[in-house]
Each structure stands twice: as C-alpha cells, then as structure tokens.
Amino acid sequence: MGPSLDISIALIAVAPFLVAALAPWVKSFAGGLAGWVLAIVPAAIFISFVGFIPTITDLSVIRVGLDWIPSYGISFSFFVDGLSLVFGLLISGIGTFIVIYSGAYLAGHPHQGRFFSYMLMFMGSMLGLVLADNVFTLFVFWELTSITSFLLIGFDHTRQAARRAAIQALVVTGGGGLALLAGLILLTLITGQNSLTGMLTTAGVVQQSPLYFAALGLVLAGAFAKSAQVPLHFWLPNAMEAPTPVSAYLHSATMVKAGVYLLARMNPVLGGTDQWFWILTVVGGVTLLMGAALAVRQTDLKQMLAYTTLGSLGLLVLLIGFGTKEAILGAILYLCAHSLFKGAMFMIAGVIDHGTGTRDIRILSGLREAMPVTFIAAVLAAISMAGFPIAIGFLAKEEMYLAMTQGLWPDLLFLAVLILGNAMMMVVGLIIAFKPFLGPVADTPHAPHEGSLGLLVGPVVLAVLGVVAGLFTPWINASVLNPTGSSIYNNLVDASIYLGFDLANPAVWASIATWVLGAVMFWKADQVRNGLRRTGEAIGWTFDQGFDAAMFGAIRLAHRITGALHHGRLEWYILLFFVLLAAALFVPLIMTSSLPPVPDMPILNFYEWGAIGIAAIGLATVLLARTRLTAIAALGIQGFAVALIFMLFGAPDLSFTQFMVETLTVIILALVMTRLHLDQVDHRDLETALRDGAVALAVGAGIMMVLLVVLQTELDLSLTELFRQTSVPIAHGRNIVNVILVDYRAIDTLGEISVVMAAGLAILALIRLRASPLATARKQQKGRAA
C-alpha cells in the first residue's frame, strides 16, 4: 500500500467541503452546465473508491490517521473496509447523478449555487461518517450530516412548512447524535479503544460489561433517530419539504442510511445478545409495517416514497437485528437495491412533478406518450422494488426470506412481517410505475413534457443498474458480499448467492406469496387506501402532533421560567444577586465549619491608621450623604484609601490600577445617574434601607471571612519564586505583574480583553436601545396605565 493511497482516503472526505466553498462561483461561471461540472467531484471520488475494490476484495483494510487532539487520543483517522466501501460507492455514485439532476431540476433558481454548496457539504459529511475510524471523528461527521441536512431540508426557507421540517429533523437527529456521543464515550470507557478498528478487536468485551445496556440504549437512540425508526420516524416524511433532489439523496444512499451503517458497524461490538435481537427486530418490524401501510395510504408521489423509505429502513434494522449470516447478506443486498431504486424513484417523481406540475397520483394519468423515457425508468425501478427477477431487489428478497426459513416460530412470524411489508411496498412501486403513465390522458397543471437529459440520466442509469446487477452475482459475491459481510459479521463470510428459481427452495415460495399479495392489493389499491385512511382517522393522533406538543410544551416552560426569573425589576435582580453572593460565601464556610478565629489586633504605623481612617470617613459619608452624587464621590474616597493601603503594603501595580478604577467608577456612576435622570435624593424608606444594608453587611462580612481563611493557610511561594527567577532571563521584564499579564498568562489576558471589548459593545448597544424603541414603548405603556 503506497502512502498516496492512504492520504487519498482523507482527501475523499475533505474534497467535497473544499469544492462546496467554490460551488457558487462554479455556478456563476458554468451557468446551466454547473451540475455537470460539479458532478466531476463525486465522480472522481467514486472512481477512487472503485480503485479500492481489488484491495477490499482481498479482505484488507486501508487506514490513514492524522493527529487531531493527541492529548485526548483523538485523531482524525479514516479507514476503508468492505462496509465503508459499499457505502462510499453508493454515496459518491448516486451523488454524481443527484448533482447532475440538481443542475437541471433547479435550473434558474436564484440560489442554485448555494444549493450545490449545501449538497456537496452534505456529501462530504456522509463520506466522512462512513470512512471515520476514530469514534469522535465519526461523531463529528454524524452531527455534520444533521446540520447540513437541516440546511437542505430548509432550503426553501420562505415557506413555514420547510422551516418546521428542517427544525424537526435537526432536533430529532441532532438529539439522537448527543445520545450517540454518550454511547460512544461509554464504549471507549468499556473497551479502552477509541477507534472502530480497535473496538472490533475487543468483540465480546462490551456484551459482558455491566454498562452494556446503557451503551446499547444510547447508541441505538442515535441510530434510530437518524434512520427514522418508530417512534422517531416522523421527521422523515416531513423532510419531503426539501427540493426533490434532496429527498432523492437523503432517502436513498445517505442520511437515513447513516443509522443503518452505524448498526451494521456496531454489530460485532454490541450485537449477538438477546437485547440486541429483540430491540432491533421488534422496532424494525413495527417500522416496516407502519411505514409500508402509511405509504399505501398516501396520494402524493413523494409522500408515498417517503413512507416506503421508512418501511425499507425498518426492514434493514430488522435484518441486522436478526443477525444470521443470511440476514446480513440480505441486508447488504437490500441496502444496495434500495439505494438504486429509491434514488431512481424519487428522481422520477421529480421529473413527473417538473413535467406536469403535480404529484397527486389521483390526477396523474396517461403520461406514457409524453414521457416515454421516464415511463421505462419507472418500470425498471419498480421491478427492483417489487423484487422481480432478475433485479438485485429479487436477490435481496430471496436472501432475506432464506434467512427466515431456517428456524422455528419467531422466524416464521418475522417471515410473515417481511412478506406483508414487502407486498405493500411493491404496491407502491407498481402504483408509481403504472398509474401515472397508463390509462386515459388527464389534465395536469402544465402540458406534460419529457425531462431534459440532466433530469433523466440519473433515474435511467440507477434503474437500469438495479435490474441488470442481478446478472453479475459472482462479482457481487466476491467484491461486495464477502468483504462487507465480513465487516458486519466480524467473521469471514463466503457468500454464494446466485440467480435461480428453484421451487424446492422455500424462499421462492415466500417471494411468490409476496407477489400474489402485492398484486391483490394493487388490484384493490383504492379500497386499501381508503380503509387505511379511515383507520388513521379513527386513531386521530400522530407522532408528528406529539412532536409539536413536546416542542410547544418546552417553549411554554421556557416562557414560564423566564417570566419568573426575568421580571425586569432591576432592584430585585441586584438584591437577588447579592443575597446569592452572600450565601455562596457563607454556606461553604459553615458547611466545612472553617469559620476563621477573630484575628489579633495588628500593630500598625500611624500613617497606616491614617489610610484606614480616610476609608472610614469615606464610608460614613456614603451613609450620611443627603444626595446621591455626594455618596458616589464619597465612595470614591473610600476606594482611594484602599488604594493607598495597597501602596503601603507593597503592591504598586495593584494600587495604581485601583486609583484609576475608582476614578472611572465615580465618573461613570455619576454619568449613569444623570443619564437615567435619577432623583438627587435617595427615597428608600427605613425598612428597605435596613434590608439593603443587611445584605451589604452580609456580603462584606462574607468576603472578609473568606480572606481571613485564605490568609490562615501557609502561602505557597514556589510560584512567586519561579516568576521572580525567570521573569528577567526568559521574559525580559522586571515587573512580574506585567510579565504575568502579557507573557506567562497571556492567554488569560486575551480572554479578559475579549470580555472587556464585548462588555463595551453590549453597554453601547443597551444605551442606544434605551434611546429608541424601548423608551417609546414605555411611554405608551404609561399612557395606557393613565
């Protein structure tokens, strides 16, 4: 393995991000051809993945790592094995066609350049995710897919529905991502490894750990949220608000497959237990049936496809959970088949929408004359979706049925679930392939016309591939199933699928049952749809509404908390702040019973007494002052006296600063007073004055106590000594205070001056704000009160 090959893996994950930054310029130079030009990037990535195939066929693994945060053992590392390669090929291959398709689909859109940027960033995130070795690298890319898909789903951001769908997807998948992070941290703690390749070598350790169930739950929460498993599935159909190329990409090879990828990847680490088996198969099975049933119910092409995606994801989760060799092989085949036919189907839905102006299956009819190429592509995609020979979908279905016909009763139950789910998805495929194209020509919003080359190349190529792939079983066995199966299974797998139709094989009968069931439902499609609609209406509650209820509940709760804490009465804020400060000072002292003893009376020189005297006079003046301005000035006198004390006890820098701060405090307080038009005289009644005075005394006493306690401990002078010895030789300065500020602890100072700058900015904003709208609002309020 040459080093150039290794680096190219990291490049693969980074290249789309680099190109994403250039995409808007490419768009303005290349114009209508931008899609074709930008598609070069995923195409090149696809070709470099193809270059890995021979290595992977030999069951080798290619790795590359760059240090990222070495102190935490976090590296930016990637690896390619069978599983990543399959995903990488699907992401980059389908991505190529999606980019071309986007160029044609969004032609003339004012923000097409931005769209390409988002799309490429999303592609890069997905590639990084499936190539990542270090689990934290994986997490970063995982969250990047959530963020970039948020941008894509909300691309049409002027529509409220698109914004809602985007936020929903971000909340669900991003929230799942946090669970995943916790799960991954647990796994690193249990195994002592923070790379996937490392974890795979410790198979069996995690399952024995007492933390197994926690780690499993967290990782599954992340994967289920991403792959839209019940009950976290609702974001996926809503994500249809995105432009069609996005749906086609998110639903076929990417985003939702990320969860499936994670489950497949974690199978050796977390799998093989009863919990794993039952959680995955039950959740997957429920999602399959629910998604497929809801798909039949829909009348919008994209919605139908969206719900079949749910069904397919459920199917994949179920197969991974089932975990036998046949089930895993079936899952890999179905994964490839689904990516191809679902990508094609979505693009076809987009072409129909583009050509006719509607996606309503009840309106569309008779398009075969106007859109012949689309028709052929749709039929081919449906063949794979329905699992007819010779399509790769047929191989997938045969293999999964084979897995379920090996054992006894639970297997047969799962078999029934699979047959029912597949039959319903087949119905959807047939409806989309035939209903819009056959029958009498119907009126559509535009006169129907065939799509352009850019629109058609994607669906046609993917649909054709999905069908003819079934002819290359020896290659699929050796180059796809064996390496990928071995990655998931963590044991060598020797796949031997072949294209055959052997009536002695029970799986063939299961396939026949699926077709018969599907055909019957297709025959009675309208009745089935109406029946399911009525059931849905009878339930009358959807998870989507549940999400809204939860979100609005959170917002109401936040309002209530804000209302309680942020009431707008400055006096109470300050009082609360100082009461809490006093509590923070006293409670630890009392809890640890470390109240300091009364110190001895110090022996001081007369000038030291003098400084203390000035401070006392200043304080007395503050208390007795008749006007506020006098009190503020007197406070400054007290501060100057403290500065004097600092000076006498050998801290010239501190004293110097104290003088300046006191001066400015007096000036600023006086300005604030005039600015806010406060009364010259303090009008507090005795009760309030006593309360405020008590709080002030408590805070002052608290600070004094803490200082006394601090002084009781022996002062550790080693740091002082270090600074004293090194400040001149290495920092060229005799003023240690300044050397510390600008050199030894310069990064602290950098933080502090950033805060000072931000505070200045904030105060400036507040003062300006008060001058304009708020003041007017207040006046109005007063007017209303009067």
Binding site: P652, D653, F656, T657, M660, V661, T663, L664, I667, I668, L671, V672, R675, A731, H732, G733, R734, N735, V737, N738, V739, L741, V742, D743, A746, I747, T749, L750, I753, S754, V756, M757, A759, G760, L761, I763, L764, I767, R768, A771, S772
Partner: protein, 140 residues
C-alpha cells in the same frame, strides 16, 4: 462642571494624560504600569475631554469610534500570538528582538504588541462606555 477654567484646562489635561498613559504603558514591563493601567488613564482622558468639550467634539478628535479601537486591540493581541506560530513555537510564546540603537538598547517583542492591544481594548471599551453615557439621550 462646565466652568471656563475646566473647559480651558481640560484639553491640556487630556493631552498630558494621554502622553502619560503611553508612558505608563511602555514602562510597564519593568516598572509599575502596563496596558491595563495605561488604558484606564487614556480612557479617563477621553472622559474628561468629553465632559468639557462635548461628545461630538471628542468623536471628531478621535476619528474612529472607540469601540473600533477596542476591536482592533483584541485583533492585535491575537495577532501577536499568531506571530509565534509562524516561528514554530506555541501560540502566544513571547519573542524578542533586541536592537542596539546607537548605544541604547531597544527591545521589540510580541508581548509589547500584546500589551499595546490590551491598551487599545481598555481605552476603547471604557471610553465607549463613558462617551455613550455622556452623549445626550437619542444620540449615541
């Protein structure tokens, strides 16, 4: 406050304070002083000038908005840190260049640039607050 004596003395006083603030800033590495203290003196000079001559006059004299100065200071301090990176040492490591200038030593260093940044931030931020408060309501 707005007496003739104050208005006559304020510009001279402010000018002296500004010069003194720079002096305090530059001696800071070896004697008491430095960017923070120097900045506070500079900000006081702005405040005095503002009270005596009016905010408009002060802004005119300053040419830039003081908050710009504060932002510039943070950038300057950060840049002094990045210079270290160019010399392949960790962020914010102090670098020194000592020149012999006709017998007297002139030391230039990244901590000096950093301290100039601190000075600019303090003058800018505190000056902003003071001037904003001095301005009449409605203006800034």
């Amino acid at each position: 406050m707005n007496t003739v004596i104050f208005r006559t003395a304020a510009p001279i006083l402010a000018a002296l304070m500004l010069v003194f603030s720079v002096f305090v800033l530059l001696r800071g590495h070896n004697e008491p002083g430095g960017g923070f203290i120097g900045g506070l003196i500079g900000a006081s000079a702005l405040a005095i000038y503002g009270i005596a001559m009016g905010v408009e006059e002060t802004r005119k004299a300053l040419k830039v908005h003081p908050i710009t100065l504060a932002g510039f200071g943070v950038v300057m301090a950060a840049i002094s840190g990045f210079i270290s990176l160019a010399f392949d040492v960790p962020f914010l490591t102090g670098l020194w260049w000592i020149f012999d200038f006709d017998g007297s030593e002139v030391a230039l260093s990244t901590p000096l640039i950093f301290d100039l940044g601190v000075y600019a931030v303090v003058v800018g931020a505190v000056g902003t607050i003071a001037l904003a408060l001095e301005a009449d309501e409605g203006g800034d």
